[in-house]
C-alpha cells in the first residue's frame, strides 16, 4: 500500500509508506494529489523537475509537499508520477511527469490550502518508512 487517508475534525491527512525515503516522499506526493483529484486520470505527457530543501527531514517533507501544491495550484499541473532522489539528506530533486490540468478531465475533489506540521510524523519501523501528514483544506 502506498498511502491511506486519515480523518481530522476540520481537515484531512494521510499516512504514506515506502521501502526507502525516496519512495516515501514520492508516495506522500501521490497521497497529496489524490486528495485534490484522481491521479489515475492523468497521462504522463510532460516531464518537470522539482526541487525542495529543508533544515531537517520533517521540514524537507513539508516544504516538498508545499512545492508540489504550488505547481498543482498555480502552474495548473496534474501529476502522474514522481521519481525522487536526494543529493543530500535535506535536499530533494524530483523528475515528475504529468499534464496540464483540464477541469473536465481532472475535476477537483477537494482544494488544499497548505501542508502543515500538525501531528507530523516521519520514521522507520522495521524495513518500512512511514509518514503522517495533515493538510489544511
Amino acid at each position: 500500500m502506498q498511502f491511506e487517508l486519515l480523518e481530522h475534525p476540520a481537515d484531512i491527512g494521510f499516512r504514506a509508506f515506502g521501502t526507502s525515503v525516496e519512495e516515501l516522499f514520492a508516495n506522500c506526493a501521490h497521497a497529496l494529489i489524490s486528495i485534490i483529484f484522481d491521479p489515475s486520470d492523468v497521462a504522463p505527457v510532460q516531464q518537470i523537475n522539482l526541487h525542495a530543501e529543508g533544515s531537517d527531514r520533517e521540514s524537507l517533507l513539508v516544504n516538498w509537499l508545499n512545492e508540489v501544491l504550488y505547481y498543482v495550484d498555480t502552474r495548473r499541473l496534474a501529476f502522474h508520477s514522481f521519481a525522487v532522489s536526494f543529493t543530500d539528506p535535506c535536499l530533494l530533486n524530483c523528475s515528475a511527469s504529468g499534464e496540464t490540468r483540464d477541469p473536465l478531465k481532472h475535476p477537483v475533489r477537494l482544494s488544499v490550502k497548505a501542508v502543515t506540521y500538525h501531528q507530523l510524523k516521519l520514521s522507520k519501523q522495521a524495513e518500512t518508512w512511514f509518514a503522517e501528514v495533515y493538510v489544511d483544506v
Partner: protein, 481 residues
C-alpha cells in the same frame, strides 16, 4: 497531553479554566468560554490541548482564550485567541492561519422575502454564474502588471476606486477595508502568482455566499441602526485571501521554523512557529500579513460588486445592496488593553475569532458607535446565522473577541458516510433552501450535523456579555465553492 488528562475547572455556567501547567511549559492559564451543552463536544478533539500549547508562546499576555465554537486546528485551535506583548512577544503565522483575513461581510437588500421567493431559482442561478467559485478558479478582475501591489496596499479602497463598489463601502468594514502597514515587497512572487488571478472569487472549502432573510429581531433599536427589519433579504459573504494568503502563511511558517533556534524558541508544535514581533522576520510577516488581509478585503469587495450585478439583472436597477459591515476572523492586530490594571500594547492573534468592540470604541464607524461593532456569525449550511454587536465584556475578558461560527464536530469523511448528495439537496430544498455547488461533495461535507448548534454558541457569548444578539438570519439560497 491527552484530552482526558486535561484539568478543566468550571468557573461559572459559561466559563472554564485550565490551570497553568509549568511542566508543560505553559506561561499562563487557558480560559474557555463554553457551556455544559458544548464542552463535551470540545473535549472530543485536541482543541483544548492546542489552547494549552498556545499558552507556551513567549510574551503571551493574559490567558490563552478558547471561544465556544473552538475545534481542532493545526498549531492554534480554531476559535483560539492569544495576545502577545508588542515589545517582548512573538508573532505566529499559524495563529492567523493559512486563510489570512478569512472573514464575513453582510449586505442588506431593499427587498423582502416575499419579493425574492418567487424568483429565488433565477436569482441563485444568476449569482452562481456571476460570482466565480470553486478551487483554483480565476476571477473576472484582470489586474494590469504591477497593480497587484496597489491592491495589497490599498485593499477594498483600490477596488472601490477602480469601479468595483460604492464609495460608502469602505466606511463599513473593519479597518475600513485597508490594514495599515502592508508591505507588498514582503509577499513572495509565488504568493502573488498563486492568488492574483483569483481576485473576486469565492473559493472552496467552507467558503460560501448565502442569500438569507431576517428571521427574528432580538434588539429592535440596534436592528434599526443596522437598517434591517423582519423578513428583509440580506446576503452573507464568507471568503478570504485565496491562494495569496495561503502562500504567505506557508512561506512564513517555513521561514520561522528556520529562525526559531536563533531566538532560542522551543515549542511543543512546529505549526506554532513564531519569531519576535520586533525581529526582521516578525516585522516582515506582519507586513506581508497586512498585504494579504488587504487582498482579502479587495476580494470580498469584488464579490459584492458581481453580487450587485446579479441582483440588478434578476430584479431591476432600483434594487440596492448596501454593505452593513465586514469583519475578519483570521488576523493579528495591534491593540491596547488594560490587563491586571496595566495598559498593555499587544498583538491579538484571532484564529477563527471575530473582533467585537463595544459601543463608543474609536475604531467603530460613527454610525454604529451607539450600538457597538457589528459581528456576523455564520451557522452551518441550512441553519441560522446571527448578527451580534460587541459589548464591554469583550474588552474586559476576551481581548475584544468573540466566536466566528458554529464550530466543526465531525470530519469531512464522517459526515459524508451513508449520505447521498441528491437526497441531501432535496431535503434542503424541501426546507426552502436552494443550493448550488461547484464540487459534488461540497454539500455533503458542510451538512449541519458536521457542526455544533450555532444557537447554543451564541447563547454563550450573549450571556457572558462579550456580544449581544441583534437578529437571527435564515438561509434561502446557498452558493458553495
Amino acid at each position: 497531553m491527552l484530552t482526558s488528562e486535561i484539568v478543566l475547572e468550571p468557573l461559572d455556567q459559561y466559563r472554564y479554566r485550565i490551570p497553568r501547567n509549568e511542566a508543560a511549559g505553559m506561561r499562563t492559564h487557558v480560559l474557555v468560554f463554553s457551556s455544559p451543552a458544548l464542552i463535551g463536544q470540545t473535549q472530543k478533539d485536541l482543541s483544548l490541548a492546542q489552547a494549552m500549547n498556545v499558552a507556551t508562546l513567549p510574551g503571551i499576555v493574559g490567558p490563552s482564550l478558547a471561544m465556544p465554537d473552538i475545534h481542532q486546528g493545526y498549531g492554534f485551535p480554531i476559535g483560539g485567541v492569544a495576545a502577545t506583548d508588542m515589545v517582548e512577544g512573538i508573532v505566529s503565522p499559524g495563529g492567523v492561519g493559512f486563510d489570512i483575513n478569512c472573514g464575513v461581510r453582510l449586505v442588506r437588500s431593499t427587498l423582502h422575502r416575499a419579493d425574492v421567493q418567487p424568483r429565488m431559482k433565477q436569482l441563485i442561478d444568476q449569482v452562481f454564474r456571476d460570482v466565480p467559485c470553486g478551487a483554483g478558479t480565476e476571477g473576472r478582475v484582470k489586474l494590469k502588471r504591477g497593480a497587484i501591489d496597489e491592491v495589497l496596499t490599498r485593499g477594498a479602497r483600490w477596488m472601490v476606486e477602480n469601479g468595483y463598489g460604492d464609495p460608502g463601502d469602505t466606511e463599513r468594514a473593519e479597518a475600513n477595508g485597508t490594514l495599515k502597514g502592508a508591505l507588498p515587497n514582503k509577499v513572495s512572487d509565488r504568493a502573488k502568482e498563486r492568488g492574483g488571478p483569483q481576485l473576486a472569487t469565492l473559493g472552496s472549502g467552507n467558503h460560501f455566499l448565502e442569500i438569507q432573510y431576517v428571521d427574528k429581531v432580538h434588539d429592535h433599536p440596534a436592528a434599526q441602526t443596522l437598517g434591517i427589519e423582519k423578513d428583509q433579504v440580506v446576503v452573507l459573504i464568507h471568503s478570504g485571501s485565496r491562494g495569496l494568503g495561503h502562500q504567505v502563511c506557508t512561506d512564513y511558517v517555513a521561514l520561522m521554523n528556520q529562525v526559531m533556534p536563533k531566538y532560542g524558541i522551543n515549542l511543543p508544535d512546529r505549526q506554532l512557529a513564531c519569531a519576535p514581533i520586533q525581529s526582521d522576520e516578525g516585522r516582515s510577516y506582519l507586513g506581508a500579513m497586512a498585504a494579504a488581509a488587504n487582498f482579502a478585503w479587495a476580494n470580498r469587495q469584488g464579490i459584492t460588486h458581481y453580487l450587485r450585478d446579479a441582483f440588478r439583472r434578476v430584479f431591476d436597477d432600483e434594487v440596492r445592496l448596501d454593505l452593513i459591515y465586514d469583519v475578519c476572523h483570521n488576523i493579528a492586530k495591534h491593540e491596547t488593553y488594560v490587563v491586571d490594571g496595566r495598559k498593555r500594547d499587544v498583538l491579538v492573534h484571532r484564529k477563527g475569532a471575530t473582533r467585537a468592540f463595544p459601543p463608543g470604541h474609536p475604531e467603530i464607524p460613527a454610525i454604529y458607535s451607539e450600538i457597538g461593532q457589528p459581528v456576523f456569525v455564520p451557522g452551518s449550511m441550512g441553519t441560522a446565522s446571527w448578527i451580534l454587536v460587541g459589548q464591554q465584556g469583550a474588552l474586559n475578558d476576551s481581548f475584544g473577541s468573540v466566536c466566528h461560527g458554529a464550530g466543526r464536530v465531525l470530519s469531512r469523511t464522517a459526515v459524508r458516510k451513508g449520505k447521498n448528495v441528491q437526497e441531501e439537496r432535496r431535503k434542503l430544498e424541501q426546507n426552502g433552501i436552494l443550493v448550488r455547488s461547484e464540487s459534488r461533495d461540497g454539500i455533503l461535507e458542510e451538512l449541519p450535523e458536521a457542526y455544533k448548534d450555532v444557537d447554543e454558541v451564541i447563547e454563550v457569548v450573549h450571556n457572558t456579555g462579550l456580544a449581544k444578539k441583534v437578529a437571527r438570519l435564515r438561509p434561502m439560497g446557498v452558493i458553495k465553492g
